[in-house]
Amino acid sequence: MPHMSVISRRVAAAAVSVVLLGGAAACGPKEGGDAKGGGAEGAPKKGGTLTVLNGAPQKQFDPARLYTSGGGNIPSLVYRTLTTRHRANGAEGTKVVPDLATDTGTPGDDAKTWTYKLQDGLKYEDGSPITSADIKYGVERSFAAELSGGAPYLRDWLIGGDTYQGPYKEKKGLDSIETPDDKTIVFKLKKSEGDFPYFAASTQFAPVPKAKDTGAKYAEHPVSSGPYKVVKNAGDGEQMTLERNPNWSEETDKERHAYPDRIEVRSGLSAAVINQRLSTGSGPDAAAVTTDTNLGPAELAQVTGDKNLAARVGTGHFGQTSYLAFNPAVKPFDDPKVRQAISYAINRTSVVNAAGGSSLAEPTTTFLPRQKPLGYTPYDHFPAGDKGDPAKARELLKEAGHENGLEITLTHSTAQNRETSPEIATAVQAALKEAGITVKLEGLEDNDYDEKIHSFDKQPGLFIAHWGADWPSGGPFLAPVFDGRQIVKDGANFNTGRLDDPKVNDEIDAINKITDHDAAAQRWGALDQKIGEQALTVPLFNPVYKRLFGKDVKNVVISNWTGVLDVSQVAVK
């Protein structure tokens, strides 16, 4: 999922803390990496209280409204879903595994039908059994306007999803979801979607007992199917207390460990304060983690000088790329030579420095992030080296008839997120100057920026954007940005390069039919390489996340799916 996935909503909500903090790159589910299971010595034991210190409050807690992929972090402690992400470090953690279901789904009809069987003995926090009808209901309610916020795939994929208005308005439900019995659920899709198992890890696939549904107020007292239940949710999601759900059974849940007895979530904190508290670790902060705050460059500089602290940093990777986006409908970006010239001119070293330095950002020349499961295939069509190749750029400009230089405008957000922020824009500006391109910066407030770059009509010619994976697969990474049929003229358009190439479109459809993830990944990689030749984007860097955790925290797991520390694995005893 695209740039906005996390960012827009969460960041919008969190923008302030980000802005305020100014510091650490922010929030959002990031995924990660290759952290070794870290933390304090000794085998993890049950008990104790885990404190989660976060920047963004958990404003949304209704399973229908959460965008978070893989079931999210705190939400996945309360909501179990049909499938879930494998709770393991690094690339292993990008695998999808069964959760409520017995497997990751049985495809049928060229991956247009997906059938799931529920495990036995699944119970809600009140002891009542979880049925397939509850999952159907959970999916259906996410269509209600009152509960907007989820990802668009249900609407796009399910037959009848585009017109369905949710169970409150249309009592009879969605016919494309069938529950032949209490344990079975079948989804019927309009087209082939080999990635369905990944999507089924979203909280929309969590069971909601119809009798207990209170609509917009459900988030206040959601009925837990996971290892914890919500005992307090105050201050608009800023303060949450979770306690053990006695009716959750470890036997049916292989992924979640649920070591702590109690989890206290405190959010609305500034990044500086969070990291400072984690590093000081006094009182309950010793058993604290954060699920949305990274070490900023400043803290990193400080932490690397302190062995004790350095041992408490986990590294995470999340499938995300920051890039320069061209709008070929705007001159002079209609000319491939100009786009190529800019690709050559870019100095990725200063861009990386502006993004927090080489420990927090890795330069990239591919659109797909540097992760195998997404289909990463290395290529560098316009080799610029570390510092850019202004000479080559000038040459191309000359060929394009701009021997006297060129004046262009670069649009960016003024939010201090180190992804689309002014520092990066300035770095780009400085690099292009070498190639004789004068760049005028247009910094927009985040809302304005967001609206403009995704508007078909108002889209600027050149802007900094970033795109993140909804799940670790090439499909959701490439399709919205390059599928010609996804050009949206009257809504949010993500195909900013306006690429409508039948060959590309066909290939996307073809890959979507593949249910073997590895095979699909390879084809996505090849597609990315192919599209890259058109220079519709200039990939800049992939962010790297450094997560600090408290000194009593054990069993730290950071998967490349989310890039954040998995609270369901953490132990404090």
Binding site: A13, D236, G268, Q276, S282, G491
Partner: protein, 329 residues
């Protein structure tokens, strides 16, 4: 007096009404679509349209505003999807972001803001008046010089600098205090105070400078008044002149100013709340502003506006009560 209060109350209402109109208008023309923001990152146009309808954002702005007013006076019904609920008057509507009743959100957050305001006010008043008194009484001495410069420095230090310095010093380097994390008074009074100590100090220090300066100048002014001369001419000792005769008159404007400031602290301590992660309405407001959550913005502005307006009335009444020479008109 009653008539005076009634007149002021009517004025206050008018002020708040205008304020709400201004807020509505400003946000109406602001770029960004609240429906899109509420809908989620990848909503398609139909979904956005649904959300827009659900939030009644399709209505003309004056109709929306009218409904807002109705909600305040009479409350209104709303659907959660599964049930029809009533939002009691004064109802500020539902948050675009998560459909919560804004009134509840406010009530949840007011205690933190009130705690901050009360404590910071106490700190600043105490520190300010004592400093002002000392510097007025030790005129020309070293004490005065030191205090004067201290208060000047206080005025010149924005809370995001002093707050940071305090945090670093007391929580990080010395580790004498916990990193502030709001604990409700009702839950644990000791922790409440302990956690709020730094925010109080940061905000209080900043504000105290103002009171110190006011106390000083107003005390010097009062000491120059004729009635002080009278008692001096009757052999009343200097110390007593100050404590019995000058102080009261001198403190009147300070009390009055502090009452007015107390009101603005309800909405004005945004930076402090954010700096220390206090779940107050200032922080709520900034979040809501960024997400164009109009009902929340309007509600917070109304609440803080009410606080300011009320505080101003209280300030005037206090001033008149302290200084009988002032008539309330």
């Amino acid at each position: 007096m009653t008539g005076y209060l009634l007149r002021r109350a009517a004025g206050a209402l008018a002020v708040l009404l205008v304020l709400s109109v201004v807020v509505y208008a400003t946000f109406y023309i602001a770029p960004g679509d609240p429906a899109r923001l509420a809908c989620g990152p990848r909503c398609n146009p139909e979904q956005i349209a649904q959300v827009r309808a659900q939030l009644s954002l399709g209505d003309p702005v004056y109709v929306q505003y009218w409904h807002f007013l109705q909600g305040i006076v009479a409350g209104h019904d709303y659907s959660t999807g599964t049930a029809l609920l009533h939002c009691d008057a004064p109802c500020f509507g539902l948050s675009y972001q998560n459909n919560q009743q804004v009134t509840d959100m406010l009530i949840e957050r007011l205690p933190a803001t009130a705690s901050l305001a009360v404590g910071a006010m106490a700190v600043s008043l105490l520190l300010g008046t004592v400093t002002g008194l000392l510097s007025a009484l030790r005129r020309g001495g070293v004490t005065e010089r030191v205090l004067t410069w201290l208060t000047l420095a206080g005025t010149a230090t924005p809370v995001f600098i002093s707050g940071l310095a305090l945090l670093m010093l007391f929580c990080a380097y010395l580790a004498w205090l916990p990193f502030p994390s709001y604990v409700p008074l009702t839950e644990d009074p000791e922790q409440w105070a302990w956690n709020l100590l730094l925010p109080w100090a940061a905000l209080g220090l900043l504000e105290s400078a103002k009171y110190a300066r006011l106390t000083r100048s107003s005390l010097l002014e009062t000491l120059a008044e004729d009635h002080i001369r009278t008692f001096r001419a009757y052999g009343v000792a200097e110390r007593k002149l100050v404590t019995r005769h000058a102080l009261r008159g001198a403190v009147a404007p300070v009390i009055s100013l502090s009452a007015a400031d107390f009101g603005s602290m309800f909405g004005g301590a945004v930076l402090t709340e954010m700096m220390f992660g206090l779940p107050g309405i200032g922080a709520l407001l900034v979040h809501a502003t960024v997400t164009l959550d109009l009902p929340v913005v309007v509600a917070v502005v109304m609440v803080t506006g009410t606080a300011v307006v009320l505080a101003n009335i209280v300030a005037d009444v206090l001033y008149a009560a302290a200084d009988r020479r002032v008539a309330l008109r």
